[in-house]
């Protein structure tokens, strides 16, 4: 690019900046686009990439309204309207899958949040910096491991003949016989919840600890002048101080309430526990990929996406009404 053009660009950008508020004033015109063509070259190809990989597949949603058969061309597919959705919601398996997904997701959300905040509060009270850092580093170590490794570790720890959980429980005389944890459905949700806490609690504390450190120290001083004890300070200063972080994370997580997780359930679930372990994602893989029922699996996927988006907007709206921080 010649210097003259560059000069012109710099100049126009500067004058425009002075004249109009960039937040509202700049309209989408070919002239400005041309002026900013370097920025366009640097961003539009990536945006196109995004559209191809994230938005183009929406075209596949049409499958949910068809009785899709891979052998036929698109024009020859049989259109069935909402039949797939009707089938889905009258299907006992899907209802069970939905129940499992929501239950495990809810357990993970509540347990995960409570333990993360709890650990952050307690870590915050540790005065020896070195010890604090060691505990922290170790606590988020499992976050970096894959669910495959975690599942192996969970399976080993719960194993009937040499699992540490059974050994400890027996030594404490809480149980007489080793329990076959992974063979009984009633334990499954609890195992998933506990495994999630084990893997993610340390990671979850990072953000809360940062929020705690950013609380104005004078609030604590004022509280102690008023005679507040340690737990009162936690209750009346620290917890309100991390409220906005909590709300943002809650909104973000509510959108993922139908993502109870896939990997751990898939890896730990078996024929004996299938009524408790199967989630929507596993359902989709099973019906879609393994059985080739693409239409039904797509319908389940659409349901999941739409629920997520609606939930995020509702949560965001409520947060807005309550005067809290919000996401969108």
């Amino acid at each position: 690019m010649s210097d003259a053009v560059l000069d012109k660009q710099v100049k126009t950008q500067k004058t425009r900046k002075r004249k109009v508020d960039p937040e509202i004033g700049v309209s989408l015109s070919w002239k400005t686009l041309k002026m900013q063509k370097q920025l366009v070259f640097m961003s539009v190809p990536i945006a196109i990439y995004l559209i191809i990989f994230n938005y183009a597949p929406i075209w596949g949603w049409l499958m949910a309204f068809q009785n899709y058969r891979p052998a036929l061309s698109f024009g020859k597919q049989e259109w069935v309207g909402l039949q797939q959705f009707k089938f889905l919601f009258s299907d006992e398996t899907f209802m069970m899958v939905l129940r499992n997904t929501i239950a495990m997701s809810f357990i993970n959300l509540v347990l995960g949040t409570v333990t993360a905040i709890g650990l952050a509060l307690l870590l915050n009270e540790i005065r020896a910096k070195f010890f604090k850092r060691i505990v922290q580093s170790i606590s988020y170590l499992p976050h970096f491991l894959s669910w495959v490794i975690a599942a192996g570790i969970v399976a080993t720890s719960l194993s009937i003949d040499d699992g540490i959980v059974n050994i400890v429980l027996m030594k404490l005389h809480l149980i007489k016989e080793p329990i076959m944890w992974l063979s009984e459905g009633k334990y499954f949700w609890g195992i998933i919840g506990a495994s999630n806490v084990w893997k993610e609690v340390g990671w979850g504390t990072i953000i809360y600890l940062a929020a705690i450190t950013s609380i104005d120290p004078s609030l604590y001083e004022a509280a102690s002048i008023d005679g507040a004890k340690r737990f009162q300070k936690m209750r009346y200063v620290t917890l309100p101080g991390i409220k906005s972080t909590f709300v943002i994370l809650l909104i973000m997580n509510i959108g993922h309430i139908l993502d109870a997780g896939f990997e751990l359930q898939y890896l730990l679930g078996n024929g004996l526990t299938v009524d408790w372990s199967q989630t929507i994602d596993i359902f989709v893989v099973k019906y879609g990929i393994s059985m080739g029922n693409y239409s039904l699996a797509t319908a389940a996927g659409i349901f999941k996406t739409i629920v997520s988006v609606i939930l995020v907007f509702i949560a965001n709206y409520i947060a807005k009404r309550l005067g809290e921080e919000r996401l969108v």
Binding site: G60, V135, L141, F144, D161, L267
Partner: protein, 303 residues
């Protein structure tokens, strides 16, 4: 705050801190025990492990488990695929995400909001597994190495983190470079990119961990092609085989490692592969720790 906590009573703080310290040690123990146990099993004789009672330390030292793991060519190739996908995803992912973040951090860029919105929406909006599968198929990415790289190059979360960081840099830097006649790409590459090191370390770690740990894409898009198998996928297959055939030494050993049937068991092989798969991550994360704590908090800053 320290002074404040000290002044509240005499006995209570001591009791509290003792209990708190014990609790923290408990947390550390629960987190670390499974690794130490796995490490011990991986160095312990397979048939001896079956007798039980291995906790922190191997009873009958052996390297056979690792030998058995490394005797098959599969594991080397899987490791090679894992390393390649991790390196390529990280390099391209970091570069492209930062470049995009740079453009979206420019307040005067007119497509800023539109492109930004497109990206934010993807955090909640997903076409779903089946439509994605068909897309991958139509793009000809099934059973190709690129399926590991292309679909997950730029994520909204990483984009927000980097953009927030770039916005926190002094605007005068970009302004003065422009006056000196530098083009946008030049500014990005010569000025912004080097300045972003701390946040890029964070994002690189996120991308690398994600790529290294992923097995589901292999399962979905490349499971029939042994040449595309990754370490995690090998782990996953092994997990499946050991979970269904609990404590049957011949199940796996019989298939692949006939010659050492007596020495290794599925459980001990799994322990060895777990260590092999986990060690690279365990080596990297302490070095990047100070960065990702900062990076994660930056990402949480509301704009």
């Amino acid at each position: 705050m320290k002074a404040v906590t000290k002044s509240s009573g005499r006995i209570e703080p001591i009791v509290f801190h003792t209990i708190n310290t014990i609790f923290m040690l408990f947390v550390v123990a629960i987190t670390l025990y499974p690794f130490l146990h796995t490490l011990a099993v991986s160095f312990n004789d397979g048939s001896d492990t079956l007798a039980g009672g291995i906790y922190f330390w191997p009873r009958a030292w052996t390297m056979e488990n690792y030998r058995a793991v490394f005797i098959t060519g599969t594991i080397y190739h899987a490791a090679f695929i894992s390393v390649s996908r991790t390196v390529l995803s990280t390099v391209f992912g970091v570069f492209l995400t930062t470049m995009l973040a740079y453009t979206l951090a420019q307040p005067q860029y007119i497509l800023r909001k539109k492109i930004g919105m497109l990206f934010i929406l993807t955090m909640y909006f997903n076409a779903g597994l089946i439509p994605n599968y068909f897309l991958i198929k139509q793009l000809g990415l099934l059973h190709s190495f690129m399926v590991y790289i292309l679909p997950s190059l730029v994520s909204a979360f990483n984009l927000i983190i980097i953009r927030t960081y770039i916005r926190s840099l002094p605007a005068g830097l970009i302004e003065s470079a422009k006056i000196d006649g530098a083009g946008e790409f030049r500014i990005f590459w010569k000025i912004i990119f080097p300045l972003c090191t701390p946040v890029l370390a964070t994002v690189a770690l996120f991308i690398a961990v994600g790529a290294w740990n992923s097995w589901f894409d292999t399962f979905l898009y490349a499971s029939s092609d042994i040449n595309l198998s990754t370490l995690q996928y090998e782990m996953m297959k092994l997990l499946g085989s050991t979970m269904s055939t609990n404590n049957d030494p011949s199940a796996l050993a019989g298939n692949q490692h006939n010659q050492m049937q007596a020495l290794v068991t599925p459980a001990s092989i799994r322990a060895a592969i777990t260590i092999v798969t986990a060690v690279p991550i365990l080596f990297v994360y302490p070095f990047l720790q100070k960065y990702f704590v900062v990076g994660l908090n930056l990402g949480s800053v509301k704009e």
